[in-house]
C-alpha cells in the first residue's frame, strides 16, 4: 500500500482561521453576506480573500469607516441590481446566441434539402399515385408512409440520396438512406450465406489448376501441372527488388559521371 501524504484539508480549517480574524467585520460585509445567501460556497471562498484584504487594512491602525445604514442599504441594493442586470444581460446574450445558432442550423439544413418545388412535386405525385390505384398496392402504401415519416422526421436528419423522379420527368427518385442500409446489410448476409454453403468450410473444394492437372498426372507421359508457376508468390519482395535495382542503376550512373 502506498502511504498517502496527509493532505491539508482546504476550506473548513482555513475558513475557521479566517473567521476568527474576521470577527471585527464591518456592517457592509455582513449585509453582503446576508444578500449573497444564494451562493454559499462562493461566500465561503470569498471570505478568505476579503479577510486577507481586511487583514492588511487592520495593520494601519485606523478605525473602520462609519456608514449609515441607509447608505449601506442603498449601496447593497445597487450592487444587487447591478448583479441582477449583469446576469440578465448574460442571459439575453446567451439567448440571442442560441437563437442565431438555431437559425444558422435551419438555414444550413434547408440548403442541404431539395428545393421546395421538387419536394412539392414528390408529395403530390405520391398522393396522385395513391388516388389512381385504390387497390392494395403495398408499394404505394409504403411510399405514402415513407412520405409521412419523412415529413415528420424533417426535424431529424432526413438525407435524400439518389434522386429519380416519380413524376413525368422520370429522372430521379428519393430514397431513405436508413432503408437502403438495412437492405444492403441483408443482401450481404444473404450473399455470405450462399458463399458459405457453397465455398465455406466443410465443402470439398480445390483450386482450378489442381483440378485440371489431375488429367496430366494420369497420362502415360506425365506432364507438369496446369499452372506450374505461382506468379503471386513474393510480389512485395519482387517489387522491392525492382525498385532497389532502379535506384542502384541511377546511383551507378551518377558516380560514373
Amino acid at each position: 500500500m502506498v502511504q498517502l501524504r496527509p493532505r491539508a484539508s482546504r476550506a473548513p480549517s482555513s475558513a475557521e482561521a479566517m473567521v476568527d480574524e474576521g470577527q471585527p467585520a464591518s456592517e457592509e460585509e455582513e449585509a453582503e453576506h446576508g444578500l449573497l445567501l444564494g451562493q454559499p460556497s462562493s461566500g465561503a471562498a470569498a471570505e478568505p480573500l476579503e479577510e486577507d484584504e481586511e487583514g492588511d487594512d487592520e495593520f494601519d491602525d485606523e478605525a473602520p469607516e462609519e456608514l449609515t445604514f441607509a447608505s449601506a442599504q442603498a449601496e447593497a441594493r445597487e450592487e444587487e441590481r447591478r448583479v441582477r442586470e449583469t446576469v440578465r444581460r448574460d442571459k439575453t446574450l446567451l439567448k440571442e446566441k442560441r437563437k442565431r445558432r438555431e437559425e444558422l442550423f435551419i438555414e444550413q439544413k434547408k440548403r442541404k434539402l431539395l428545393p421546395d418545388t421538387i419536394l412539392e412535386k414528390l408529395t403530390t405525385a405520391s398522393q396522385t399515385n395513391v388516388k389512381k390505384s385504390p387497390g392494395k398496392v403495398k408499394e404505394v402504401n409504403l411510399q405514402k408512409k415513407n412520405e409521412d415519416r419523412e415529413k415528420g422526421n424533417d426535424s431529424k436528419k432526413v438525407k435524400v440520396q439518389k434522386v429519380q423522379s416519380v413524376s413525368q420527368n422520370k429522372s430521379y427518385l428519393a430514397v431513405r438512406l436508413k432503408d437502403q442500409d438495412l437492405r444492403d446489410s441483408r443482401q450481404q448476409a444473404a450473399q455470405a450465406f450462399i458463399h458459405n454453403s457453397l465455398y465455406g468450410p466443410g465443402t470439398n473444394r480445390t483450386t482450378v489448376s489442381k483440378f485440371l492437372s489431375l488429367a496430366n498426372k494420369r497420362l502415360p507421359v506425365k506432364k507438369a501441372a496446369v499452372q506450374f508457376l505461382n506468379n503471386a508468390w513474393g510480389i512485395q519482395k519482387k517489387q522491392n527488388a525492382k525498385r532497389f535495382k532502379r535506384r542502384w542503376m541511377v546511383r551507378k550512373m551518377k558516380t560514373k559521371k
Partner: protein
C-alpha cells in the same frame, strides 16, 4: 488469296460470368438465361440457338430466380428483394416491385400463369397476382422459420412445396397454411454437422414431391402423408437443381461436380403397369457446379459456374436424327465485343465495367509461311477506362481514325476524345450528352470519323455530326413499321453514303445518309441477322443470318446480286450449314472486290466470288494445297470458300491493311483458369 502477316492477340482477358438461372418457355421455344452479374439473355432455340436479346446487368442485381408467366412475360427476382419484369419488345426493365421480405431466393409461376409465388429470406412465402400491366401483392402464407430456398406448384395449383434449410413444407394455397413439414436427413458423408439445404423441389401431379439437397440426395416424398418414399444418394457433393418435363415421365438434376443426371419413369418389368423412377443417364459436360437445369420436350439444358450453356437433345425424343440432335455448347458471345481502329492499329476491348485500349505490337522480321515472327515492339496497354456507376456496358466503339471512343450503358452515353502526342495519349470527355442518346444498342462511326450513328433501344436511329471536340445532332430516323427487336446491327459504307440497320422484323433498312431518308428495305428473313457489312466500292450489303445463310444485296440496284442468287439456288455446303457458332464479323479487302472475309468462333473464311461454288460432294475444308501437286488437281479442288481453322477460338478477326490481319483468340483454358474453385475429385493413381 495472298500472303498476310497475322497479329495473334491473346491479351483480351475475357471471362464470361457464370450462369445462375435458366427458364424455358415452351410456346415460343425460347430460353431465358440469367448470369451472376445480372445480365439476362434470351436465346431462340429454333433459330439455331442464337442469342437474340439481352438485358445488361447491374452490380447490385444478383438474380436468384427467373420464370416465364403467361403471355410471354419474363420475371426475375434477386437478392436485392425486388421482382423485376422485363419488357421483351422495348428491351428494358418495365418495373421493379419490392416484395418486402428481404432477399428473394426463389420464384415460381403458377401452372395457369396468372399468379406468382415468391420465397423470401425471412421465411415468408408471398403470393402475387399478375395483372395485365403490373403485379399485385395478394397475401402471405404462413411464415416459416428459415429462408425459403425453392418453390414448386402442384400442376393443379392447389398445393405448394417449399424447400428450406433442413425441412420441406407443403402448403395449401387456399388457406395459406402449412399442411405438412417434412424433415430432411442431414447425413452427409457420414457426418451430420452441416445443415442440409434443400436446393430444389418439384411437385408432381400424383402428389409426389421430389427434393434435391446439399447432402447429394434425391428424395421422393408423399405429400398426402408427409413421409419419405424413396431416397437416392447420387453424388458426394450438393445436388443443386432439378427440372421436370411436362409429361412428368422424366426429370433432370444437376450436381456440384458438374454431372447432370437424367431420371426416367420406367415400368418395373417389361409388361407391367407399375412404374418406378430410375436414374438412367449421367452427362459430364461441365467442370464446375451445375446451378440450373431445364427440361424442354426434346432436350436437357444445363448451365452453371463454368459459364457454358449446354443443350443436350435426348435421342429418344428427337424425331429426325440429323445434326440437330448433336450436343450444343454455347461458350463464346454471339456479338462483337471488340472494335478496331485500322489507321492507328488500336483495339478496343469491351468488358462488363471497363474498356481497355491496346496498341498492337510490330515486327520487322520476315519469314516463310507458317513462321512465328519475333516482336520488335510489344503490344501496349494504352488505356483502362472504368465506367461510372453500377451498370454494365452495353456497347462500345472506337472510330477508325482512333480519336473518338463512345460507349453506352442503360442510363447514360459516354463520348471521349483522344489526343495522341508521340507515345502518350490523353483523354477528354465530351460532357452534356443529349438525353435521347441513352441506352444505345449499337454504336458505329463512319469511315472518315465525322459522323456517329447510334441505334437506341426505342427503335430510333440517330446521326450525330462530330467536329473538333464537340458534336451536333443531325437527324433521327424514327422506327419503321414492324416490332423492334434486339441485336440491332449497323453497317456504314466506306464512302459514307449508305447506312444499313437491322433490328426490326420488317427486314434490314438501308438509309441514304446524304439525303437523310430511307432508301430501301431488304426483304425480311425468318432468322435473325448476326453480322452485316457494306463492301467498299461496289456498295454491296453482305448479311449473315443465324442459320448460316449469307446474302449479298446491291444497294444502288436495290436487288440481290447475281452471285447471291446463284448461291441461293445451289445452296450452301452441308458442312457450312452445320456450323455451331454464328458469324460475328464481315470485312472486305480494299484492293480485291471479289473477296469477303468472315469469321465465327472456330474458323475464318475468305469467300472468293470469282471461283466456282462447292457442291455437297466436294471437300469444304480444303487443306493447304501442296505445291508439288499438278495444277489440274489444284484447279479441280479449288472452290470459293477458303476456310482456315488455325486460329481458334476466335473472338474477332479483321483486315488491318492489305497485308495484315489481326486475330483475337481466347483459349478456353485461360477462361477456366479464372473461374471459382470446383469440387475436388479423387482419381485413382493421383
Amino acid at each position: 488469296m495472298g500472303e498476310f502477316k497475322v497479329h495473334r492477340v491473346r491479351f483480351f482477358n475475357y471471362v464470361p460470368s457464370g450462369i445462375r438461372c435458366v427458364a424455358y418457355n415452351n410456346q415460343s421455344n425460347r430460353l431465358a438465361v440469367s448470369r451472376t452479374d445480372g445480365t439476362v439473355e434470351v436465346y431462340n432455340l429454333s433459330a439455331n440457338y442464337f442469342q437474340e436479346k439481352f438485358f445488361p446487368g447491374h452490380e447490385s442485381r444478383a438474380t436468384e430466380a427467373l420464370c416465364w408467366a403467361e403471355g410471354q412475360r419474363l420475371f426475375s427476382a434477386g437478392l436485392n428483394g425486388e421482382i423485376m419484369e422485363y419488357d421483351l419488345q422495348a428491351l428494358n426493365i418495365k418495373y421493379a416491385v419490392d416484395a418486402f421480405g428481404g432477399p428473394i431466393w426463389s420464384m415460381a409461376a403458377s401452372p395457369s400463369g396468372s399468379q406468382l409465388l415468391v420465397g423470401c429470406e425471412d421465411g415468408s412465402v408471398k403470393l402475387f397476382q399478375i395483372t395485365p400491366d403490373k403485379i399485385q401483392f395478394e397475401r402471405n402464407f404462413d411464415r416459416q422459420k428459415s429462408r425459403i430456398l425453392s418453390l414448386s406448384w402442384h400442376p393443379s395449383g392447389t398445393h405448394i412445396a417449399a424447400g428450406s434449410i433442413d425441412y420441406i413444407s407443403v402448403f395449401d394455397v387456399k388457406s395459406g397454411s402449412a399442411v405438412h413439414k417434412m424433415i430432411v436427413d442431414r447425413q452427409y458423408m457420414g457426418v451430420s454437422k452441416r445443415k442440409c439445404i434443400v436446393w430444389g423441389v418439384a411437385f408432381l401431379s400424383d402428389g409426389t414431391v421430389i427434393s434435391v439437397d446439399s447432402a447429394g440426395k434425391v428424395q421422393f416424398w408423399d405429400s398426402a402423408t408427409g413421409t419419405l418414399v424413396n431416397s437416392h444418394l447420387i453424388a458426394n457433393a450438393d445436388v443443386q437443381s432439378i427440372a421436370v418435363a411436362e409429361q412428368e415421365d422424366s426429370f433432370v438434376v444437376g450436381t456440384a461436380e458438374g454431372t447432370v443426371f437424367h431420371f426416367q419413369l420406367v415400368p418395373v418389368t417389361s409388361n407391367s403397369s407399375e412404374k418406378q423412377w430410375v436414374r438412367t443417364k449421367p452427362f459430364q459436360h461441365h467442370t464446375h457446379d451445375v446451378r440450373t437445369v431445364a427440361h424442354s420436350p426434346t432436350a436437357l439444358i444445363s448451365g452453371g459456374t463454368d459459364t457454358h450453356l449446354v443443350i443436350r437433345p435426348l435421342m429418344e425424343k428427337v424425331e429426325v436424327k440429323n445434326y440437330d440432335a448433336a450436343l450444343r455448347k454455347i461458350t463464346f458471345p454471339h456479338r462483337r465485343l471488340i472494335s478496331c481502329s485500322k489507321k492507328r492499329q488500336l483495339l478496343l476491348f469491351q468488358f462488363a465495367h471497363h474498356l481497355e485500349l491496346w496498341r498492337l505490337g510490330s515486327t520487322v522480321a520476315t519469314g516463310k509461311n507458317g513462321d512465328t515472327l519475333p516482336l520488335s515492339k510489344n503490344a501496349d496497354h494504352l488505356l483502362h477506362l472504368k465506367t461510372k456507376g453500377p451498370e454494365n456496358i452495353i456497347c462500345s466503339c472506337i472510330s477508325p481514325c482512333g480519336s473518338w471512343i463512345a460507349y453506352s450503358t442503360v442510363s447514360r452515353f459516354f463520348l471521349y476524345r483522344l489526343n495522341y502526342e508521340h507515345d502518350n495519349i490523353s483523354l477528354k470527355r465530351v460532357s452534356k450528352m443529349p438525353p435521347f442518346l441513352r441506352s444505345a444498342l449499337q454504336i458505329l462511326f463512319s469511315e472518315d470519323s465525322t459522323k456517329l450513328f447510334v441505334a437506341s433501344n426505342q427503335g430510333a436511329l440517330h446521326i450525330v455530326q462530330l467536329s473538333g471536340g464537340s458534336f451536333k445532332h443531325l437527324h433521327a430516323f424514327q422506327p419503321q413499321s414492324g416490332t423492334v427487336e434486339a441485336m440491332c446491327l449497323l453497317a456504314v459504307s466506306s464512302d459514307g453514303n449508305w447506312l444499313a440497320a437491322s433490328g426490326t422484323s420488317a427486314g434490314v433498312h438501308v438509309y441514304n445518309v446524304k439525303q437523310l431518308k430511307l432508301h430501301c428495305t431488304v426483304p425480311a428473313y425468318n432468322f435473325p441477322v448476326t453480322a452485316m457489312a457494306i463492301a467498299p466500292n461496289t456498295n454491296n450489303l453482305v448479311i449473315a443470318h443465324s442459320d448460316q445463310q449469307v446474302f449479298e444485296y446491291s444497294i444502288p440496284d436495290k436487288q440481290y446480286t447475281d452471285w447471291s442468287r446463284t448461291v441461293q439456288k445451289q445452296g450452301f455446303h452441308h458442312l457450312w450449314l452445320q456450323r455451331d457458332t454464328p458469324i460475328t464479323h464481315i470485312s472486305f479487302h480494299p484492293k480485291r472486290p471479289m473477296h469477303i472475309l468472315l469469321h465465327d468462333a472456330y474458323m475464318f473464311c475468305i469467300i472468293d466470288k470469282s471461283l466456282p461454288l462447292p457442291n455437297d460432294r466436294t471437300l469444304l475444308y480444303n487443306p493447304f494445297p501442296p505445291t508439288n501437286e499438278s495444277d489440274v488437281v489444284r484447279r479441280r479442288t479449288a472452290h470459293a470458300f477458303k476456310i482456315s481453322k488455325i486460329y481458334k477460338p476466335l473472338l474477332f478477326m479483321d483486315l488491318l491493311d492489305e497485308r495484315t490481319l489481326v486475330a483475337v483468340e481466347r483459349p478456353l483454358d485461360d477462361i477456366i483458369a479464372q473461374l471459382p474453385p470446383p469440387i475436388k475429385k479423387k482419381k485413382f493413381g493421383t
